[in-house]
């Protein structure tokens, strides 16, 4: 058997260089080139001290002009920008969640979308006091969906899912007045607060940032995750492969990209349709190969084992292989560059959502009613495009790694159940993990999430940090583009146990799991919240006492900041590898990196040196252990 080895960043970059070389031949643009064009970035923007909120400005803060025209200081400007950034992220995630609620509402026995996990649906219904006894499962689904939709606009009260948090955490939210009300209100309120002539108090702006974030993590995102599981099945461990080598030279390659599983699930279904496969064969292909990019990839990998072609900064590479018949996208993190790029090759760039319309794309509007029909149409378009492939432009790098993905909260508990002893332990809890942490066999856990960002060498921070952490017996739960970074490198292979310290290695062996656990897409960070909530309940410790931290070393989007806010507000200290646009105000930055700890027991730390970032997390975890006398 071939010895297990991680794929290095150098190996991946060498292949990327070859692809870019091909790209240059056909006149393709690239993000690498655009980064050069955009550098250096505007310092005022980078530090968050450019205010473009009213037409008196833009105003910029300098030592000579410490206030804007309205008199707002750096702390107020930075704080407002930060809150707007957060609101953007919360709105985005939550709108994704809302669209899943709508899909659930339209689910029916003989429809395009069905309830695949009725048990989970019943559990949620019970949590929400919705009757399930003797009712048709679709009746229940519709009432749950409608109740979920009300979480976006009901006039009174706070988010229903807050009750999932430990009592201690709920009390903090109440006391600090950051318990999120309805989602749309938190977003609107954020926009209102940041309007000209409203809030400029840094504390108030920071508090609302946390509250808007919480409405995402414990509201919109959580509904997105939970209802996706109800509709498409709760992920359980499944084997897959990752990196560009999953694309198949002799098959029709369809790349799904974006976030909402409603689209990708349908594409996957029709790509397996015998009629479509026969059609593909009639065009000289051996079959149809669906692979994913970005969070869509996470969704279909963890439910179907669909291979992962790459993450955010790999999206252009899949087109550059010259072997991509269609790249089908829905919402979020899609480069408008894909339009012009696809024109350099035979690739069809297919947009499907009214939320994400782009030039140079074929728009096929996708909704619950026409999903099946349109999915078939898309698959057919891709197949028919196979004949247009320019053979001399095809280059598929051979790199790929095995990965075991699909560790939803439920799957983690099920995995932990396998190491319980029926004569002493109960099942269905996180207690085995607690015992590993308490005894010190595992030192703690890091929730590593987030994007790619050209400010950091692609995937390098994710992978290097993960390697360092697992070597120190720290288990990782990951999602989003961090997850794909791990999978591409090989860290989600069970063989990666050999890169761990003795403690984590033993745990991986006994649980038959990889050391880096794939928890899903970026909305699925809500799964991590459920995990820490239950870890706290099962251990008797508060969330902020747990030796668990969050980390986003290559983050870039507004969603990431929204996530950061709810992770911190839940009690997990979070380490960032890229500086947010807050450097311009020591006061506001100081709140984020210190002051808010007095409110929620956790705060942000920004450490741009990746090596030091790893050490800082390990130190924080050890500090928490000492505090607990473990």
């Amino acid at each position: 058997m071939e010895e297990f080895k991680l794929t290095t960043r150098d190996e991946m970059e060498a292949e990327t260089d070859k692809l870019l070389e091909i790209g240059r031949k056909v006149g393709a643009d690239s993000w690498q080139q655009r980064v050069k064009n955009q550098t250096p970035h505007c310092r005022f923007g980078e530090e968050g001290i450019c205010c473009r909120i009213c037409q008196m400005g833009p105003c910029r803060i300098t030592p000579k002009s410490p206030r804007g025209i309205c008199g707002c200081d750096a702390a107020g400007i930075v704080g407002r920008n930060y809150l707007r950034f957060t609101a953007g992220g919360a709105a985005t995630h939550s709108d994704h969640g809302r669209s899943i609620c709508h899909t659930l509402y339209l689910a029916k026995e003989d429809g395009n979308y069905k309830v695949k996990d009725p048990e989970k649906l019943k559990r949620i219904a019970k949590e929400w006091d919705i009757e399930t006894e003797g009712r048709d499962i679709y009746d229940v689904a519709h009432e749950v969906a409608e109740t979920g939709l009300m979480e976006y606009g009901k006039p009174f009260g706070t988010q229903r899912f807050l009750k999932r948090a430990p009592k201690h955490t709920q009390e903090i939210w109440e006391k600090e007045e950051i318990a999120p009300r309805v989602i749309d209100r938190e977003v609107s309120c954020s926009m209102h607060m940041t309007h000209m002539g409203c809030s400029s108090d840094p504390e108030a702006l920071a508090r609302q940032s946390l509250r808007a974030g919480l409405s995402d993590g414990w509201g919109g995102s959580m509904m997105g995750t939970e209802f996706s599981d109800v509709l498409f099945g709760t992920p359980m461990p499944v084997d897959t492969e990752a990196n560009l080598g999953v694309m198949q030279e002799d098959m029709v390659n369809i790349i799904v990209h974006g976030h909402d599983p409603s689209l990708s699930e349908m594409i996957v279904e029709y790509a397996e349709n015998p009629e479509m496969i026969a059609l593909a064969k009639s065009y000289g292909a051996k079959g149809i190969n669906v692979a994913g990019v970005c969070c869509t990839s996470n969704e279909v990998a963890m439910r179907h084992g669909i291979p992962m072609a790459g993450n955010f900064l790999s999206q252009e590479n899949v087109v550059l292989t010259g072997a991509c018949e269609a790249i089908v996208v829905d919402v979020q993190c899609i480069f408008p560059a894909l339009g012009p790029l696809s024109k350099c090759f035979h690739t069809k760039f297919i947009t499907t959502s009214e939320i994400a319309r782009m030039p140079d794309s074929d728009f096929i509007h996708f909704d619950a009613e026409n999903a099946g029909e349109n999915a078939k149409k898309i698959v057919k378009m891709a197949i028919e495009n196979f004949q247009n492939r320019k053979k001399d432009l095809v280059y598929i790098p051979k790199l790929k790694q095995k990965a075991t993905v699909g560790y939803s909260y439920e799957a983690i508990v099920k995995t932990l159940d396998t190491v319980t002893n029926s004569h002493v332990d109960e099942t269905g809890t996180t207690k085995p993990l607690n015992e590993c942490v308490k005894s010190g066999i595992i030192r703690g856990a890091v929730a590593m999430v987030g994007c790619n960002n050209p400010k950091v060498r692609h995937d390098y921070a994710h992978v290097e940090l993960m390697k360092k952490l697992i070597q120190n017996d720290i288990v990782l739960v990951v999602s989003g583009c961090a997850a794909q970074a791990a999978a591409k490198a090989g860290l989600m292979s069970k063989e990666a146990k050999n890169l761990c310290g003795d403690g984590l290695k033993r745990v991986c062996e006994l649980c038959d799991m990889p050391p880096v656990l794939h928890m899903g897409s970026c909305v699925d960070i809500s799964r991590m919240m459920v995990l820490v909530a239950n870890l706290a309940k099962d251990s008797g410790w508060n969330i902020d006492e747990l030796p668990v931290v969050g980390c986003a070393p290559e983050w870039m989007s507004e969603k990431a900041i929204s996530i950061g806010n709810y992770v911190v507000a839940t009690g997990l200290t979070t380490f960032l590898g890229v500086y947010p646009q807050t450097k311009g105000s020591e006061v506001f930055d100081g709140l984020l990196q210190g002051g808010i700890k007095d409110w929620v027991g956790a705060c942000f730390h920004v450490v741009e040196d990746i090596d030091k970032l790893g050490d800082a997390m390990i130190e924080e975890i050890e500090r928490k252990r000492e505090h607990l006398h473990i």
């Binding site: 002493v424 308490k438 005894s439 010190g440 066999i441 403690g503 033993r506 745990v507 006994l510």
Partner: protein, 710 residues
């Protein structure tokens, strides 16, 4: 509250200090070049040797071993450090025990304290481990809450065939209740002090060296092997001190879970360190923690039934009745019948029952098992029949030796008093035959006969069957069959070893003949014994076939690509480690020396069995050395390529007697030599090469005139 890490570090420091003191103590009296080794092992101080590769055999080197232990006791707050400290604690414990053996001392008299287990004993475990007859090991460290409970847990493990080691106060508890202990009954009292636990680790790591062919010093390789393949467990009764916790860390590093009822300052680790307050649940909790699934055969008899009782000896004074085939008529027979002639689970007794005889009586006994099944073949009768010995021996309080009409069975008074009667033989045979041969036996009935006249009739009839079977066996040669079989039963422990079983060459463990392999294949077509069609002959002299090479390559997963069945010099067959005998070439006499596992003395090669055995095993080819079964010695295919049995120049006396008749017959057939066995030397004649050649010259041994071996 001390953390787990603090406890392990403290405990390992304590053990180290004790080892340091023990070494200092013996150093007062002995110099550094004094021998300091365990007896009958080729693996020095096995714990240390396996982890370091250091060949420690003097007091001076023991000191180096101690220094290594200290280096391993690192103190970072990582599992790695408690693991290395834990293993170093076990090694320091081994050093304390090794000091007791200094200068050839024998510190333990085996009544009851056993101390070091020899290589022979470890190798003996090979077959039962492979077959699952010993599903695992447990070491009980205690005293248990009461002597009654101590006996209860020991019996409970024994009935599950788990090999039990005792350390500490539980020894006296068990012994005081009259429980038999010793290696034979798989209940070994190691010592009263915690450090004697190192003897258990020593057995586990030698399994890795012997059966797994792990290189000594391959620290992680040894741990991987024990974690994946050795089902051992620790049960520690409260109070558990820091030193025990440190040893526990070592055990866990090797993959062995620790179960304790002490929850004071104890840190639970799933499937590794388990707190079970109810000591009565230790057994079930431990088996689950190590993932041991037992083959369950519920047999309705009034005494225990387990492999642990296989080695039990029943003395005349303890005997209720005896069936002795050398004095009266006795016989055991399996008969293939039509399904209509067999009533499933019918157990019939013809003649008086055991309670109708006076105490100490020699009785006639016939045990007839009739079987029917669509896939049953008469060739399997002897395969099933040969298992009677093991089945009946596993009954607590019953001893069985021999086969066919030369058997001896003793039933102890205690078994009799517990209610054991003749029909219970039937229950045991029925249950075992039906469960182990379920693929070929659909129906089975047992008839037990004690009526002397009827037994006599049956014996006469049976002998006709035996004669026919012998004729059939004689006609079975490598030339007359079309297929051989692989046997990879050992691969659970020896992953790259493959046996090729032929009519004239049984498996090297002695447990698998060609017929056994055939039956095994029939029982489990995708199991360990696969058909190797005898095709593509390459060289008849050395026994090479293309099909055999292909099978070996396939089933060793590429580790081996070529074997010759009849040569020990050219690509000899590999060994797993549980071979009955090993032969090695003796250059001066131009012959080979064979030594069996039971023989612990020196051979003319200047090596003991253990030392010769350590030259091979683990699926590695070592020209000049070969493990094999006892029956292979008199085979016409034994070393056929190098001239055959005429090469045998030395055998231990006891083994010589066992093979005498058949070996003489083979030599007569092959070379026309009469009484060839008398030309072979043994330990009463010589143990060195010079005297060996002298003797061989005197008797005119044929090996001296054969072509040079090398």
């Amino acid at each position: 509250m001390a953390t787990l890490f603090e406890r392990v570090f403290k405990g390992s420091d304590e053990m180290y200090a004790k080892a340091e003191a023990a070494v200092a103590e013996v150093s007062k009296e002995y110099s550094d070049d004094t021998t300091c080794v365990f007896p009958d092992t080729a693996y020095y101080l096995p714990c240390l040797y396996s982890m370091t590769g250091k060949k420690i055999n003097t007091l001076g080197m023991v000191k180096e071993g101690l220094a290594w232990c200290k280096e391993q006791m690192t103190r970072e707050k990582r599992t790695h450090d408690i693991f290395t400290s834990g293993i170093a604690t076990a090694c320091a414990a081994e050093i304390i025990e090794a000091c007791k053996y200094i200068d050839g001392k024998q510190p333990y008299d085996k009544s009851p304290l056993w101390g070091h287990c020899t290589d022979g004993e470890v190798r003996e475990l090979g077959v039962p481990l492979v077959t699952g007859d010993i599903p695992g090991f447990v070491v009980l460290i205690g005293p248990a809450p009461s002597a009654e409970e101590a006996v209860e847990i020991v019996k409970s493990y024994q009935t599950k065939n788990i090999f039990v080691f005792l350390v500490g106060g539980i020894i006296d508890q068990v012994v005081s209740k009259g429980v038999k202990t010793g290696f034979g009954v798989r209940l070994v009292c190691e010592g009263y002090d915690l450090w004697s636990v190192s003897y258990v680790i020593s057995v586990a790591v030698r399994a890795a060296l012997i059966f797994g062919a792990i290189t000594p010093g391959d620290y992680d390789g040894i741990r991987k092997y024990t974690f994946e393949r050795i089902n051992a467990m620790v049960n520690a009764y409260e109070p558990v001190d820091d030193m025990t916790v440190a040893c526990g860390a070592g055990a866990i590093s090797y993959g062995f879970p620790v179960v304790t009822n002490d929850d004071n300052d104890m840190w639970r680790v799933p499937r590794s360190l388990i707190v079970q307050k109810d000591t009565k649940q230790f057994v079930e909790t431990s088996l689950e923690a190590r993932g041991i699934k037992l083959k369950i055969t519920n047999i309705d008899i009034p005494v225990n039934f387990a492999n642990a009782f296989e080695g039990e000896i029943i003395r005349r004074g303890d005997m209720q009745i005896e069936a002795d085939g050398s004095r009266v008529d006795c016989v055991e027979l399996v008969r293939t019948k039509d399904a209509s002639e067999v009533e499933d689970h019918k157990i019939e007794l013809i003649g008086p029952d055991l309670d109708e005889f006076e105490v100490g009586k020699k009785i006639c006994l016939a045990t007839i098992v009739d079987v029917a099944g669509r896939k049953m073949q008469p060739d399997f009768e002897s395969v099933i029949e040969r298992k009677f010995h093991s089945y009946i021996n596993c009954i607590e309080g019953v001893m069985h030796t021999g086969q066919r009409d030369m058997i001896r069975i003793r039933v102890s008074k205690s078994a009799f008093e517990a209610g054991f009667r003749a029909k219970h033989f039937g229950e045991v045979l029925y249950a075992k035959v039906k469960s182990e041969f379920d693929a070929v036996v659909d129906k089975c009935q047992v008839t037990i006969v004690t009526d002397p006249e009827k037994v006599h009739e049956l014996r006469v009839a049976a002998n006709e069957t035996f004669d026919k079977r012998d004729e059939r066996l004689l006609s079975l040669t490598d030339e007359t069959v079309d297929e051989f079989y692989t046997c990879v039963m050992c691969q659970a422990f020896s992953p790259s070893h493959v046996c090729i079983v032929t009519p004239e060459r049984l498996g090297l463990c002695g447990a698998v003949s060609w017929l056994d392999a055939r039956a095994t294949h029939e029982l489990d077509p995708s199991g360990p014994c696969q058909v190797v069609p005898k095709t593509g002959v390459i060289d008849e002299r050395t026994g090479r076939w293309e099909s055999v090479n292909a099978a070996v390559e396939k089933y060793s997963r590429g580790a081996l690509s070529s074997v010759s069945l009849y040569s020990i010099m050219e690509d000899p067959m590999t060994s797993c480690g549980c071979f009955e005998c090993i032969c090695g070439i003796e250059p001066m006499s131009n012959g080979v020396v064979i030594v069996n596992r039971e023989h612990i003395g020196m051979t003319p090669l200047g090596m003991t069995f253990s030392e010769m055995a350590s030259m091979t095993g683990g699926g590695v080819q070592t020209p000049g050395f070969m493990g094999h079964g006892k029956h292979f010695i008199s085979s016409k295919k034994f070393m056929k390529a190098e001239g055959g049995v005429a090469r045998i120049v030395w055998l231990p006396k006891a083994l010589k007697e066992q093979v005498r008749d058949q070996l003489n017959a083979t030599a007569k057939d092959l070379y026309g030599i009469d009484n060839f066995v008398d030309m072979i030397a043994d330990e009463t004649i010589c143990e060195d090469p010079e005297s060996l050649v002298e003797f061989l010259t005197k008797v005119g041994h044929p090996a001296l005139s054969l072509d040079p071996l090398m």
